[in-house]
Structures are given as C-alpha cells and as structure tokens.
C-alpha cells in the first residue's frame, strides 16, 4: 500500500519496521531521544522498543561508534546515529581503520554489518563546524558503502537495504530533505545499494546529482523545460559502489554532463564522476564537464554569505545553459 510520507518519517518507519522484524537491530547515538537533534526520524522509537534497544549516548562519538562496530562483530545489526556529520569526525578512526578494513583484513571470514547514519545539517547560520558534507571522505575508503537518499521512497528503502547489508554502510541523510514527501509503501522493501535512478528523461544535458541536489536538479529541469531545454536527471543514490553504467548510457545520449554535489569541489564526488566519464566514454562528450559544488571554502556564518555559498537550482541552470552556449 502506498501513501504519502515525508522523508523524515520514512527513515523513522524503516527503523521501526526493521527493529520489529529483526531483534538484532538496535539504535544508538547522540540525540535519538532528543526533541531537536534528529528531527522526527526517531520519534516514538524508544517508547515502542524500550531503552535497551533505543538509547541516547554520552558525547563519546569514538567509543559509541566503536561499540556499534563491536556489537556488529558479535552478531547485532546496530544503527549508530551522528546528528551532525561533523561530530562523526571523532569516530573516523573506528569507521576507517576498523569497520572498513575488517572483512578484508581477516580474509573475508567476518564482516561488520553496521549502519552509521550521519546527518547533514547545513544552513541556519551554524557556521563552519556544523555544516559540513563529508561524503567524498567516506567514499574514498575501500570497504565502506555510501548511500545518500534524495526522496522519501529511497530514504526508507535504502535504510532497509543498509541494515540488511553484511558490510558497513554510511547512510547520509539531509535535514533539508526531511519535509519532502512522496509515495512510500507501507511494507518493508529495499532500494538496492549500488543502483542509481533516472529521475527525468531528456536529450540535451545529463545532470548527475547527489542527495538534496537531486531535488534542485528537478527544479532546474522544470525551469529549463520552459525554455525548451530538456535535461536528464540521474539521482546517484549510492556513491559507492557507483552505478556508472547508467551515467555512461545517459552521457552517450546527451553528450553533455553537469555533476551536482553539495560538498567541496576539490577531490569531491563530482570529480570522481567526471573522471569516470572521461576515462570510459570520452568520445561521447560534446563539451567539457561542469561541476556544481561548494567552493573550497569553509561554511560561513552570516546569512549574506550563506546565500552565495550553497549551490541551488539556479547554479545548475547556469551550468546547463553554459554547456549549450545559451
């Protein structure tokens, strides 16, 4: 049964249903019982499952994440939440050295089925330490899978797939998406990790987007259609492993590519997409690849600077027009 559900509540529902279906799933992290840290994504879960399976933690990102990894080694399927992706930096040692390497380092004998949910929460004049988007950092690490849902449907389906996955998954949700709604099935379903989604067909320019930038790309598409320009929008959904086949197919058709990722430009995810396209389907390209990303500058505080710092639909439109010499 489909019904309209918001992105935030889709995360909540996926967590609840997985905890109902599988007693090894539990939820821990800062703010799981907070009225403000994680929006509505965990509301009601403690009442439903009790403090043994849903617990707020001390401010100890490293130990809490390490404990989640240890619990995963001992047969559990923990979901550990970092209410700001910035705080998870204190847990990077455990995620990178331990979780990511474990399966390989022990010859495939034992894996780490942990999900680390990290929330991007930029804007609102929160400045440099509460606004960062580190998807490229995690996508760089062998042994980690990285997903970034852009719709409520995917928010639920990808979280279910992430919890069922046998390996560590970095699940990055975005506060700017929490109020977006779409049709979400009531039952459990998976959005497969490693599959991108074609969100809109078009023949002029391919726009490959991550997370929130997918919604901005769709706004740009509607605008551009008014001017007779049809863009094809691909929502990456999984940054690693990347579904580049769909991207190559699209670029073969349009010959033009914009990559939109709301994180820093240099060594960012958009650079990886551009590199793969150049390496694999160079001959299809009719124009240089353009990237819409954050400038290589920390997040500013003042709204007057935030306004020009964060990329939006208008930046995608400008890039598309530039590629078409309009």
């Amino acid at each position: 049964m489909l019904r309209e559900l918001s992105y935030g509540l889709a995360i909540n529902e996926a967590t609840r249903q997985m905890m109902e279906a599988d007693p090894s799933v539990f939820l821990l992290g800062q703010g799981v019982n907070s009225p403000w840290y994680v929006g509505n994504t965990t509301t009601g879960l403690k009442d439903r499952f009790g403090p043994e399976r849903v617990f707020d933690t001390p401010i100890s990102e490293n130990a809490v994440t390490g404990a989640a990894i240890g619990a995963a080694l001992a047969g559990m399927r923990p979901v550990v939440i970092h209410p700001r992706m910035d705080f998870a930096l204190l847990a990077v040692e455990q995620i990178v050295n331990q979780a990511a390497n474990w399966r390989y380092m022990f010859g495939g004998h034992i894996g780490v089925p942990v999900v680390m949910r990290a929330i991007i929460n930029r804007g609102g004049e929160q400045a440099a330490q509460h606004s960062q988007a580190f998807q490229a950092l995690y996508a760089h690490i062998p042994g980690l899978k990285v997903v970034m849902p852009a719709t409520a449907y995917d928010a639920k389906g990808l979280l279910i797939a992430a919890i069922r996955d046998e390996d560590p998954v970095i699940y990055i949700d975005d506060r700017w998406l929490y109020a977006y709604s779409d049709d979400v099935p009531e039952e459990l379903y998976e959005v497969p990790i490693g599959k991108a989604a074609l969100r809109r067909s078009g023949s002029d320019v391919t726009v490959v987007a991550t997370s929130y930038m997918t919604q901005e790309a769709l706004k740009a598409a509607a605008d551009l259609a008014g001017a007779g320009i049809e863009i094809e929008v691909i929502d990456v959904r999984t940054l690693k492993p990347l579904d580049d086949a769909l991207i190559f197919q699209s670029v073969a058709k349009t010959g033009r590519l914009v990559v939109a990722d709301a994180a820093w430009l240099t060594c960012g995810f958009a650079a990886e997409v551009a590199a793969r396209v150049v390496c694999e389907v160079f001959a299809s390209l009719k124009a240089p690849i353009l990237r819409v990303a954050l400038p290589d500058t920390p997040a500013p505080m003042s709204a007057s600077l935030e306004k020009v710092y964060y990329p939006a639909a208008k930046d995608i439109i400008t890039a598309v027009q530039k590629l078409l010499n309009r």
Binding site: Y37, G124, P295, M301, S302
Partner: protein, 335 residues
C-alpha cells in the same frame, strides 16, 4: 548530590573594594547582554544558534579575575561569558552574533565562534571537548617560550565524555603544563541530565586520578571561584602543573536559544527555581551591600550604566553592514 562542596566562605576583606565592584559589574554585563540577546533570538532578529550562559556568570568572571590579560583562555559553544569576562569587546561580540562584518570574527563565526586574541582568547570551538588539547598546547607553548603565562579552558560536564578529555589531562599532568581545566558542571549536556550519562556525578574524582588537584566548588560563588583559580594559577606559574576545578552551576535557559526546556519535559520548574534562588549575581550583590562595598544607589547606577552600554552595543551591531558576498573566499588562508 552536592556532597563535598568545599565551602570557601572566604571573606571579601582581602580583596580591594574596587575589584569587588568590577567583578560585580562584569557579571551584570554578561547577564544583561545575554538577556537582550535572548530577546533578539525570540524575536527572530538573531538566527544563529545561541547558547546562553545566564546563571553561570560567576564562573567566567571569577576565573578571569585571577588571570592577566596575556594569559590564554579557550572556550566552547557557550562562551559569551568567557569572552566578556576576559575583556573581549562587547560591541564586536554582539555584532558577531548578528552576523555583521564588524563582528569579532567578521560575521564568519557567529555566536559559537568568537575570538578576542588581543586579550588572550584565540577563539572558541563548538566541537565538544575540542578546547582541552588546545589549551594544553598553548600552556606548553607558554612554558617553552619561558613565560609565566597560563592557559585556561572552560568546558562543560558533557565534554568529560570525550576521549580527548582524558588524553588532555594526562598529557598536561605528565608534562606539568601550566593549564587550568575549568569544568562548568551545569548538570546537563544538551537534553540529557548527567545521571543519564554517567554512573556517578564524580567529575572531580576523574581528574584527581591524573595526579592533579581537583577541587569541587560552588560555581555560583564568585569568590570561591576567584580564590580557587588564584591558587591554581599560582601553582601553574610556579611550574607545578595543572589543576582541575569543577564548578557546580546551572544554566537557566535551555540548551540552545531563549527557551527553558521545561515545556519539552527535559527538566522541572522546581529545579530551575531552586537554582534561580541561588543567583550568582544576586547573592554577590547582597553580600557587597551588606559589607558596605556597595550602596543601593550604587547598584541602581551600575545597573543603569550596564543597560546603557549593552543598548549601545546592540545599536552599533544593528547599524553595522553584513559581510559583502564578494568577500566569501577571504580568510581561507593568510593573504
């Protein structure tokens, strides 16, 4: 829970009247500034996250009174009081909170990232616990440079949960770094009471095992804070190493913003009322009146001066321009 507060009922007689007055005024300035900022957040004029210090003023002022201008302090997300107590410019701080170019961080940092390097505050970090190793490093630098300067770090009870807390205490203790760890134990970390985060409320004991003095004091008693810090500073300047001071205190407002977190069921109105009855400013004022250091006329006059000064700072901040969007990429590196 407050088992062994070392009740330092030191008399005020060993402190010059002028200094007592200025400590009183310093607390009033913080209180008035924060009350007005709270109003401006409630009115939507301030949009950045603001963590108010109201109720904890005696810690910042008592500690900073024991320091020299060139001693270092490091703060956290809740540092308006630290900044002002150390002598940071009021107008530049208010402008920063409003995101203005005239702000102490030129509108790049906001309430959580204020700096006054000219008076020993290199900046405040919003990452819980981040200030501890920074202060240890500054203290090590002071010693390497052959000065008698010290470094102080203010942090909350929540910060003791980060691994860096233990690493910093150990590093400071074995290096005998001239650093003072000022723990503002206000019983809460965000929405969580300390009883829901630790098996025991024993932060002083955690520090003591690192082999440093770890007095637990009434953080709402400005003279207790001042005397305890003075001893710690003397110790550090003489090369005897760090001290940990646990200041028991309470933030009147909620974790962030002007609300009280009572509506959200996070704490009781009785608990708040109990701590409001122990207002650090009110009790000090009563003491100074009683001892004849202040008259009622002084109190009225000083309060008016502070109100006027804060109003002028707000007017300055309001009239200041926002950062020019063309300067977005300035200050990533040295010019």
């Amino acid at each position: 829970m407050q088992t062994h507060l070392s009740t330092q009922a030191e008399s005020t007689t060993d402190i010059p009247a002028e200094m007592l007055r200025s400590m009183y005024v310093a607390m009033l300035r913080i209180r008035e500034t924060e009350e007005r900022l709270a109003d401006m957040v409630a009115a939507g004029e301030i949009r950045c996250p603001v963590h108010l210090y109201i109720g904890e003023e005696a810690v910042a002022v008592g500690v900073c009174q024991a320091l020299e201008t060139d001693d270092y302090i490091f703060g956290n997300h809740r540092s308006h009081g630290h900044y002002l107590a150390k002598g940071g410019d009021l107008r530049a701080m208010v402008a920063e909170v409003l995101g203005k170019e005239t702000g102490c961080s030129r509108g790049r940092g906001g309430s959580m990232h204020i700096a006054a390097p000219e008076v020993g505050l290199p900046g405040t970090s919003a990452m819980v616990g981040a200030g501890l190793p920074l202060a240890v490093g500054a203290a090590i630098a002071c010693a390497m440079q052959g000065t008698a300067k010290v470094a102080v770090v203010f942090f909350g009870d929540g910060a003791t949960e980060e691994g860096g807390f233990y690493e910093s205490l150990n590093l400071a203790a074995f290096r005998k770094a001239p650093v003072i760890f000022v723990c503002e134990n206000n019983l809460y970390s965000s929405h969580v009471h300390i009883r829901d985060r630790r098996p025991a409320d024993n932060l002083d004991a955690l520090a003591a095992v690192h082999g440093m003095p770890a007095p637990r004091i009434d953080g709402n008693d400005i003279l207790a804070v001042y005397h305890t810090t003075s001893e710690a500073v003397a110790r550090a300047r003489q090369g005897h190493g760090p001290t940990f001071i646990e200041c028991r205190t309470y933030r009147w407002r909620g974790h962030v913003g002007p609300n009280y977190d009572i509506d959200k069921g996070l704490r009781s109105p009785e608990e708040l009322a109990e701590w409001q009855a122990r207002c650090p400013i009110q009790s000090f004022e009563t003491r100074l009146l009683h001892q004849g250091v202040l008259t009622h006329a002084d109190v009225t006059h000083l309060r008016q001066c502070v109100t006027d000064e804060v109003a002028a700072a707000i007017a300055f901040a309001r009239q200041s321009p926002y950062p020019d969007p063309n300067t977005l990429h300035d200050y990533v590196f040295a010019p």
